[in-house]
């Protein structure tokens, strides 16, 4: 039996693969959801930083470490880098006040390019990938098979989403981060320093992208200029979600992942239309519901 042109037994798997892929999309976007979604920093260098995470993961793996462990170990280091990057951004743009938007964007583009060339100079233009037990094998449930590497991305995305959601709603700093997004002046009246809170939040966002970078190289090979593909993809997820919503990011990732998976699997739709599907969805949502699906 076929439903909408796709054999019914394939529907289940199309959706399952879509969920795994969607979680991967959420995992690579959630850092941006904090830095851009909550802090309004137009960080187009986010994917580039993530690729640096991938290459660092590769370097540690090459010395015998497991890629996931490597990703986790890199997080504190990236946190510090994020704090420094934000300080520089703040001093150069936010402090001066005038129209940081366009120039901030241009600044991060510049940073992304410098990172890209840096990676080429250090590692060369070759593709890099890692090997591990969970790459190239799959979980077999009856006749269904699910790649372990996608399950790893799935797990990481869930952990990150729930950890960040809890952190933002339950802890003092977390609530302050959310407050800074809404009303900086009010926060200042409460005696908190918004710049310190923002730099803390930006550090977290950057730290998370180290782990996201590890996911990236676990899921597929990585090359220096790859960030360009992910600029569109990650911003698409974050905007679709509605700025600053962590669960929304997960949901938006899932929607994109499932839509893409169905188009790829469907015999009549044509796999080559997959990128258009995701971005058309974004355009439609933006024109109907500008605040995003789960926005305030």
């Amino acid at each position: 039996m076929t439903i909408l042109g796709l054999p019914s037994e394939l529907w289940f798997e199309a959706v399952m693969f879509g969920i795994l892929l969607g979680c991967f999309y959420a995992a690579v976007s959630i850092g941006l959801s904090v830095s851009f979604g909550l802090l309004d920093v137009p960080n187009v260098a986010h994917p580039a930083v993530m690729i640096v995470g991938s290459y660092c993961t590769w370097a540690l793996w090459d010395r015998g470490l497991d890629p996931i462990v490597a990703g986790v170990l890199l997080m504190p280091l990236f946190f510090v880098v994020g704090v420094l990057l934000y300080r520089f951004y703040h001093a150069s743009f936010e402090k001066r006040g005038t129209e940081a938007g366009v120039r901030g964007l241009a600044f991060f583009f510049g940073v992304a390019f410098i990172i890209e060339v840096g990676l080429i100079l250090i590692f060369g233009v070759d593709q890099r990938s890692v090997q591990a037990e969970y790459i190239g094998s799959s979980l077999e449930l009856g006749e269904y098979r699910f790649p372990y590497r996608m399950l790893v991305a799935f797990g990481v995305a869930l952990v990150l989403t729930f950890a960040l959601t809890l952190y933002l709603s339950k802890t003092f700093t977390g609530r302050a981060i959310k407050a800074v997004a809404q009303d900086e002046a009010a926060l200042r009246l409460m005696g908190a320093n918004p710049v310190r809170i923002k730099q803390w939040a930006f550090g977290i966002a950057t730290g998370v992208s180290a782990l996201a970078g590890a996911m990236l190289i676990i899921v597929g090979p990585v090359e220096p200029a790859m960030d360009r593909v992910y600029i569109g993809r990650t911003f698409c997820v974050v905007v679709l979600a509605g700025l600053g919503s962590m669960t929304g990011t997960l949901a938006a990732g899932l929607i994109l992942g499932i839509a893409e998976s169905i188009v790829l699997m469907h015999p009549d739709l044509g796999a080559s239309w997959a990128p258009a599907v995701a971005f058309s969805l974004l355009l439609i949502v933006l024109s109907v519901r500008p605040q995003g699906l789960f926005g305030r």
């Binding site: 005038t98 366009v102 964007l105 583009f109 390019f113 569109g232 974004l282």
Partner: protein, 311 residues
């Protein structure tokens, strides 16, 4: 008036250059630089004057290029008609994108334009008539007198186009449209409250900007005698169009022109002297340096210098 006399002289000079004995390579390199002048000028109408960042330059550029290819394939249309079609296509896309997304806050508009690039590219990849993903080799028609080669003719055509683009940008900057756009950039709410027709103004800017980008893309297939989606919708055009006004200055029409000349010439030089990755590095370093140290670009530096020396 002085502007137009200068423009006329420039066009005549370009024509004279094109029929002179100057090395062929000059025209190939200059063509690319002038393309970026048009793109940067077009980008600045919306991005600089109104503060709406357009990442979708490749979509407009590419739709112009493909419009030209379709006409060339179907009717063997001459270059001028191809450019007219490219302009119309770019303007139409600008109108469509504008209507859909210009109600959004600036940054959402930027993201939406990224989406348009991917959608346009996917459309072209799946359209076999224009070669699909394989691309299409095009047999250029004979070059028209008095030009000795096609590259020389394209150089002249492109110079005229750039002069027209700058003229339009200059007109917009000094007219009521420009004043309105500046009000939008400073505070959209305030402008709205003061009765400025913000949406209409933004839409005009988006259509003009898109049309000029489409025009810039139209001669590209003839320049390469080849078209293929991946490089036609390359992110490089988006970055070049955004970076040049940042480097030159966004407030005045001269800014993008200066920025494009500096950036694109530098890139051309780096390509044939050092190496490819340095090309990317040049854009990166210039962008960071200028937005951090010289927020108003080269023009801003110049103004500051004028002020301090007159004091």
């Amino acid at each position: 008036m002085r502007f137009w006399i200068g423009a006329l002289l420039l066009a005549i000079a370009a024509g004279a250059l094109a029929v002179s004995g100057v090395n062929e390579y000059f025209f190939f390199a200059a063509y690319v630089v002038i393309t970026y002048i048009v793109l940067a000028t077009a980008w600045n109408i919306l991005g600089g004057y109104a503060g709406y960042v357009n990442f979708g330059t490749p979509a407009f550029f590419g739709s112009g290029a493909y419009a030209a290819v379709v006409l060339f394939q179907a009717l063997g249309a001459p270059l001028v008609v191809q450019i007219a079609a490219g302009t119309a296509m770019g303007a139409a896309l600008g109108f469509g994108v504008g209507v859909m997304t210009l109600r959004l806050r600036g940054i959402f508009f930027a993201i939406a334009t990224v989406a348009v690039v991917f959608i346009m590219e996917t459309l072209m990849i799946n359209w076999r008539y224009v070669g699909g993903a394989t691309g299409l080799q095009l047999q250029r028609p004979e070059v028209m007198a008095p030009f000795a080669t096609y590259a020389r003719m394209l150089f002249f055509v492109m110079t005229v186009m750039a002069i027209a683009a700058v003229g339009i940008a200059r007109y917009i900057q000094t007219s009521w449209v420009g004043r309105g756009l500046r009000a939008v950039r400073d505070s959209e709410e305030a402008a709205e409250a003061n009765g400025v027709p913000t949406l209409k103004l933004k839409l005009i800017a988006c259509v003009v900007s898109g049309g000029l980008m489409g025009a810039a893309g139209a001669p590209m297939p003839m320049y390469l005698s080849f078209i293929e989606p991946a490089s036609t919708f390359s992110l490089n055009y988006a970055i070049g169009a955004l970076a040049a006004p940042m480097i030159g200055g966004t407030i005045h029409w001269l800014g993008p022109v200066i920025g494009a000349i500096v950036l694109a010439s530098l890139q051309q030089i780096v390509t044939v002297t050092i190496s490819g990755e340095m090309n990317v590095l040049v854009v990166g370093v210039l962008l960071v340096l200028f937005v951090v140290l010289a927020p108003d670009g080269i023009l801003g530096l110049f103004k500051r210098w004028l002020k301090s020396s007159s004091r």
